[in-house]
Each structure stands twice: as C-alpha cells, then as structure tokens.
C-alpha cells in the first residue's frame, strides 16, 4: 500500500501542507517494498535468496513470494490510474519492480513483466470493456498469459503460432499448437498474437479466458522448462477449431502488428529498468564473494582487476538506468517519437549488463561455479537474465524498429525542437500513455542531436569540478561518432527489394553504434539535469567519465587513459552501497539487505 503523503511529510518533520515530490515518493515506495520483503541474504527469509534458490532448483514458484507481491500492492503498480490502479509512469514501474527482480526474477517475470506485457496490448488498443476486464484481472493478482507470434529467427517462446478465422456463426475459430506460453495453465486471460489470413502481414490480437472455451477444443500441453528462471510456469496449449466470441478481438482485425508496436515502447523501456534489480544482486554477490575471499566479510577488495570490474559494472548499471529512465519518460513525453529510443534501450541494455556481469565471473573465481549457498545466486542471476531478455529474437524485433529509421539520420533539421530536459528528470510528473499518439512511430527522439547541445553546456556545468578536460574530450569523441553515424546513414541503400523491405546489411552494425550513442547521450542528459535530484556521488563527474569511457570503447573509438582515481572512487561507492546497504542504481534507495 502507498503511504499517504501527509504521513511521509510528518515523518520528515515537514509542513503538513507540503507534498512530497515524485522523487521522494518513489524512494519511499521502493523502500516500503524492500521492507516488506526483508533482507534477501538472510537464510531464514521465506522470500530471501536462499528460499528462491531452493524454489528454482525444484522448478517451483514461491507461494509466499506471490502472496507478498499481492500484499505489497504490486499489481496496482502496473495498472493506469484511470483503470483503478496506481501507475504514475513507466519510469516508476521499472523502479518499483526492482525489489522483486533483485530477489526472484522468475516471480517478477511471471507476475510482473508478463501481465504488464499482455495488458499493455489491451490497454492501448482495446475497447472500454476489454480494458476494464484486463485491469480487474491484473488488480486482483490474476494471471495473464502471452502467446507470442512466430518469428523466423525463433526462440523457445517465438517458435509456433496460432491462427484464427471468422466462422459463419459470427464467432472466431482458433487453431494451432504452441509449446511455450508463459502462465499458460494458470492464466485467467490469454493475450494471443494470431495469424489471421493469407497475407504474411495479417495478424490480430485476441484476448480470451482459456477456461471459458469448450474443453473438447483445447488441450493442455506439457510444461515447458526454461534454462533460466526455472520457477516460471510456461507450458503449451493446443486449440482444435476452438470457437471464441467475436469480442475477443482487440483492436482492428489484421492490424495486430501495428497495434503491438504501440505497446512495445512502454514494454521495451520498462523491462531493462526492472532488470537492473537482477543485476544489482549479481554485483552485490560478486562484492561479497571478493570480500570473503580476500579479507573476510565486509572488508575491502584487494585485487586491482576486481576493483576495476566492480567499478565498471556499476558504471554499466548507471548507463542502463539513465537510458531506461530516458526511454520510459519518452513514452509519455514524446509518444510519437519514442519507438526507436525504447527499442534501442531493450536492444542494448541486456548486452551492456550481460557483458558487465560476465566480467564479474573472474572476480567470483571458484565461487562462480557454486551451486549452493549465496555464491550460487550470481550464476542464477546470469542464467535468469539470459532467459528473460529473450536473446536474439528480441534483438531482431528491436532492430526491425530501429533499421527503418536509420536513413533519416542523414538529414539534420536545423529548426528541430531541442530535447526537453524533463526527459531526464524523474521528479517531473508525466501525462498518461496515449495509444493513438504512440502509433506515430516517428523515431525522432533527438537524443543524437542532444550530444551537441550538451557539449555546449559542459564548460559551465564543469566549472570547479575535477576531470573537466577529460569529460569534455569524451563528449567531443561522442559528437565525432554522431557525425560519422550520420555520414554512414547517408550511404545506406534502403528499400532495395520489390516490397521495399530489403535492408542494407550495414544497418545492423550501424544500429548498434547508434544505440551506444543514445545511451551516452542519456547519461550526459541525466548528469547535466541532475535527473534524480542532488546526490553527492552522482553530482561528481567520476561515474559519467567512466560510463562514457566504456561506451566509447564499445563503440570502437580510441580513448585516453583513465586516471586511476575514477575507478577507485566508483569502486568505493559500490562497496559503501553494499555496506549501508543502498541500491546500485541512480535512485540510491535504502535496501533491506
């Protein structure tokens, strides 16, 4: 439950008329959820990491965890206010889900992310009755299953698809078999992408209650075991000429792909933000393993390469947070233009975070292969991340959104509006998501241009701060890369095929470098605008220097050597936040352990 604002104000010794700002509310809400879940490292905590590891080993979900998810009011966090929930922005949703992703990614994926994914499709595209029906199911903690369409570059969840046709009786007929649908056997509502015609682009979105169909026309297929998040209850379903009422159709018949594209931005932005919680635990467990090996618990970390890896990973989590914060806010503030930025976020954050976590394997040493005890948490988080990010198929979906936009980068509009500073500032409230405006697919978030504006603001912002020259140089390098990307975009030969869908293969590497640049731009924007309010560590440029340095290295540009104190300061911050404990992200929330 939310604390009433006046109680928070009183607790802070403030004027009772004073309203806490959005930042304060976010921090206190996350702290409240943390308190409700307790110390994850305590072996006796029924929703702690030891219990979650045991559940994962036996392939089960944590029943107590699910109850806690509901008692802490998590379902309402996903539901927009106009439908009876408390969701006040995609940026906040990512933050409040982190305590669950820190502890139990399987539960958070099945009860948080999957219902949000299915529900977004309905809330942005469905009629009033459908929207309300979905909201009611989510609000009372009912399960939602999502049956994805098949992609040529398939994954386990994208390998088969259902088909639907209209019958003469005015009802739909559903056919086909699909082996992996998350929550398939427990879902009160299934959101399905179904092939609905002869044309290759004809898809529709259906929403239906699997319990309401004639039992003879549906067959439950066996459970599908995933490599990570082993507690996830994925399974198959087969429909045999199964009648469904016409009102199962969400949005226009045959428009399923375009309708799903409206929902992707919020999903693409929210998921990486949620997953920062998962990575927080992995980084924390690497710190613990290094400390225990070197000096016993809570001590310093002696090995220089370990300190460098811990600092670098933290910088990468901050990059992920800056980018997902910016993308999440863009879904509300720039709905017509946010699609590419959100796809960039979903594309690049799993790569950045995945690489950083693999770097920690060397810090873990022998503990990397532990299969029990708290050291085993590290590799479980890696395994879970690999499964829930959907790997290559998700990259391919994101690249499909990014690639068509790349040729437009060659043209710079001198009269274009500048990037709004509110994009980077969590304290500023957001308007609700607007499905109609989200169908613009404009892609022009202006973050690439923002680097040039930021370079102009830096000299003033860096007055009296250390590493000013280094930071200015790094931003100049990013601006050079932006110019290079524009040059390469001008050389792309698009629309070569008969159907205009054959893409220049140079789009693939270009889309990745573009993604890294937008990540850098988001970091600079958050720093210049104090995106999460005053913070003694974030206000200093050390983390930004490290973040941009790592992004430029990933881009493949040469960088100056990094002064030793940059990583030293960042590593000290990691150790301090593990000791206190506070979250290893932008918001620095107090944690339960």
């Amino acid at each position: 439950m939310y604390e009433p604002d006046e109680l928070i104000a009183a607790a802070l010794g403030a004027d009772p008329q004073w309203q806490p700002d959005r930042l304060t509310r976010a921090r206190s809400r996350v702290a409240e959820i943390e308190d409700g879940l307790g110390d994850p490292w305590s072996p006796d905590n029924p929703v702690g990491l030891a219990a979650v590891l045991a559940a994962d080993d036996s392939g089960e979900s944590s029943v107590i965890g699910i109850r806690r998810f509901q008692n802490l009011g998590m379902p309402a966090e996903m539901v927009p206010a106009e439908l009876g929930g408390k969701m006040a922005g995609v940026d906040l949703l990512g933050l409040v889900m982190r305590p669950f992703f820190r502890r139990d990614p399987a539960l958070a994926f099945s009860h948080g992310f999957t219902p949000f994914l299915g529900a977004q499709m309905v809330w942005l595209n469905g009629d009033a009755r459908q929207r309300s029906r979905m909201a009611n199911v989510v609000l009372r903690g009912g399960m939602v299953g999502v049956a994805c369409q098949r992609f040529e570059h398939e994954s386990e969840f994208h390998a088969q698809e259902f088909t639907a046709t209209w019958a003469e009786d005015g009802m739909l007929r559903l056919n086909g078999s699909k082996g992996a649908i998350n929550n398939a056997h427990t879902a009160e509502l299934i959101v399905g992408f179904v092939s609905t015609g002869d044309g290759a682009t004809d898809y529709s979105i259906l929403m239906f209650d699997p319990a309401s169909v004639p039992p003879s026309r549906v067959r439950a297929l066996p459970r599908h075991r995933t490599t990570g998040v082993r507690g996830v209850q994925a399974a198959g379903l087969e429909f045999l000429d199964c009648p469904l009422p016409g009102e199962s159709l969400v949005g226009t018949w045959g428009d399923g792909v375009a309708l799903s594209l409206r929902a992707y931005p919020a999903v693409h932005a929210a998921f990486p933000s949620m997953a920062i919680g998962l990575a927080d635990t992995a980084l924390r467990s690497a710190v613990r393993a290094a400390q225990e090996r070197d000096y016993g618990t809570q001590g310093p970390v002696g090995d220089a390469s370990a300190r460098s890896a811990l600092a670098g990973t933290f910088a990468d989590l901050l990059i992920a947070d800056c980018l997902s914060l910016t993308a999440a806010r863009s879904t509300h503030l720039l709905p017509e233009q946010c699609d590419v930025l959100a796809a960039v976020t979903k594309y690049i954050v799993p790569k950045i975070v995945g690489e950083a976590l693999y770097d920690l394997s060397a810090v873990m040493g022998d503990a990397f292969h532990a299969e029990s005890g708290h050291d085993a948490v590290f590799r479980k988080q890696l395994r879970d991340l690999s499964t829930i990010t959907f790997g290559h198929v998700s990259s391919a979906i994101c690249q499909s959104v990014i690639a068509p936009y790349l040729p437009a980068l060659a043209f710079v509009d001198p009269d274009a509006a500048t990037t709004p500073a509110d994009l980077f500032r969590l304290e500023v409230p957001l308007p609700p998501l607007d499905g109609e405006r989200l169908s613009g697919f404009g892609g022009d978030d202006r973050l690439l241009d923002y680097l040039g504006h930021a370079a102009g603001q830096l000299p003033l912002a860096l007055t009296g701060l250390p590493h000013a020259d280094l930071l200015t140089g790094l931003v100049a390098g990013l601006c050079e890369e932006a110019a290079e990307i524009r040059r390469e975009a001008a050389e792309l030969t698009g629309d070569g095929g008969e159907d205009g869908l054959l893409f220049d293969t140079r789009s693939f590497p270009l889309s990745e470098r573009y993604a890294l640049l937008l990540a850098a731009s988001a970091c600079v924007g958050v720093w210049l605008n104090a995106g999460v309010g005053p913070d003694e560590f974030l206000d200093e440029p050390a983390w930004l220097v490290l973040a941009l340095h790592r992004l430029l290295r990933r881009i493949g540009r040469s960088v100056p050597p990094l002064p030793r104190e940059i990583e030293a300061l960042t590593c000290e911050e990691v150790l301090a936040r593990v000791r206190v404990p506070q979250s290893l992200d932008l918001l620095r929330t107090g944690l339960a352990g």
């Binding site: 994954s155 290759a200 292969h369 979906i397 869908l501 590497p509």
Partner: protein
C-alpha cells in the same frame, strides 16, 4: 512428438579452407546441422591471397587503427589474415558480404560481429594454423596449440592446475602427462574465451576432467569442475578436445542457450517483415 534429432559428433571435424574462396560448404553443413562448426586455415596460404595494401584501409574499417599500429609486415599480415578468416566465416552463416560486416571488441578484447547476435565466433592461432569456430546456439570459445608443445616439467602445473588436476596428472604415466596438460590448457583457454575473460579468469579456480574413452569421433569430451574437483552440473555447456590436421590439438567450449531446433542465422530474415511493413505504412512517404 517429433523424432529426436540424431546425436551428432561433437566437435565436428574442422574443415580446411584454402583461402577466402573456401570451400565453405562443410562449415555451412555443420552449422545448419548442429549449430556449430569450425574451419582451419594455413597462415602461409592465406598470406598469399591478402588484398593489396591500398585496399586494406577500407576493408578493415574500424580495425585499420589496430592494424596500422602493429609493427612490421608479419604481424600486420597475420592480423589481416585472421580478420579475413573471421569475416568470411561469419559471412557464411549470415549470408552477407564479408566486408559489409563490422568486428567489435568486448572490453576484454573478445571479438564479436557488431549488430549480429544470432552468431558467436572464436578465433585461435598458433604458428601457421588459424582456427575459427562459429555457433548459432549461444557462446563459443576455442583454443589450439601445437601437439608437441612442452608444458610438462616447466612448473606449469602449479600455475594452471587445480589440486585434483595436479593429482591426476601425477598419477598418469610420464609419456601421457604433456598431452593431458595441453588438453587442460586449451580447455581452460577455450572456456575463459567463451566467457569473454581471456586470461583474466585464474586458471587455478576451475578445472576439467576428461571423460573416459575417445568419445565422439576423434574428439574427447571433458567436464567442468570446481577448484576442489566437484563437477559443475550445467548442462547448457559442452566441452571437448580434438586433433587438428598439421599436428595440433584444439579445445571447444560451447554453450547452448538459444534452445531452438533450427536456428536461422541469415541477415536477410533477421528483420521482421510484418514490423517493417507496419512501420512503413504508418510513416508518410
């Protein structure tokens, strides 16, 4: 129920490629059949087929800077030959032009194909041998050494072996010790490369145990173990050593996380046609 796919030999025998022209058919067959393939090449042979100096800058792209910093023709030519081998190997899987690809390097130097995460490559070279592995299943690391490289008796055991590994080597007949050490060394290199760690992951912190018998084909399977010899039960990983023609041994570490029956790796099918069409329709011409 579909019939289980027949068990394939792991690792498949590396096929020889005489130059950029191939032959590449065996690699494509292995990749399509099992999601993993290897090619080996002779540096001397590829060196005679390198593009002329004035074309290299454009062909190397972002690798030009690395190339131009290398001192002397032998180092430069080896660098160029290995980059060509990676590009041509990847181009087979992706169905693209080798020079439309871009290589990128992880923060610890691991090579990737930028923008194409449907495949993973790993390269190893020693003396005249170039060996390149590629997979569509997840991540791969390979390593190769001359079979006659002396490790035994150099106190290498203490630097690279876990206690249980040292004991097993001490129990082996003298004549077999060097071969066992080479297997362990290449396996550790391969696994560490697959994780993107190069030599950062201390080799005394994990070990390998060779499976009994010769295993599939000419290869020999191995299992990962912790520093104390406990087996690591992670069935997504496969490890094996195998001979490479020309008197070399190689090791492969392969992780399957894709879990798809027939992974399609082609660049031409990576972008989803429905999404492209929907975006195209929504935007003004």
């Amino acid at each position: 129920m579909t019939a289980a796919a027949p068990e394939r030999v792991f690792p498949p025998e590396p096929s020889r490629v005489g130059g950029p022209a191939g032959p590449w058919a065996n690699l494509l067959r292995d990749l399509e059949g099992s999601g993993f393939g290897m090619v080996h090449a002779s540096l001397g042979e590829w060196r005679t087929q390198l593009p002329p100096e004035d074309e290299r800058k454009e062909l190397l792209g972002r690798d030009w800077e690395r190339y131009s910093k290398l001192a002397g023709a032998p180092l430069r030519e080896r660098f160029l030959a290995t980059r060509m081998l990676i590009r041509h190997t990847a181009a087979v899987a992706l169905g693209t032009e080798p020079y439309a690809l871009e290589l990128r390097y992880g923060l610890n130097g691991r090579v990737h194909l930028r923008g194409y995460d449907q495949i993973d490559v790993s390269l190893s070279h020693t003396a005249d041998l170039l060996l390149c592995g590629i997979t569509s299943l997840g991540v791969v690391g390979i390593d190769t050494e001359p079979a006659d490289r002396r490790l035994s008796g150099q106190d290498v055991e203490g630097l690279m072996c876990t206690e249980p590994e040292r004991k097993r080597i001490a129990r082996a007949p003298e004549a077999e010790r060097n071969g066992q050490l080479l297997s362990l060394w290449t396996l550790k290199e391969a696994y560490s490369k697959a994780l993107g760690q190069g030599l950062r992951f201390p080799f005394t912190e994990f070990g390998f145990r060779m499976e009994d018998g010769e295993g599939d084909g000419a290869g020999r399977a191995a299992r990962l173990e912790r520093a104390d010899g406990t087996l690591v039960e992670d069935h997504t990983w496969r490890f094996a050593t195998c001979p490479v023609p020309g008197g070399h041994v190689a090791a492969v570490a392969l992780q399957d996380t894709r879990r798809s029956g027939r992974p399609d790796t082609r660049a031409s099918t990576a972008l989803n046609r429905q999404i492209l069409a929907a975006i195209r329709q929504s935007r003004p011409a």
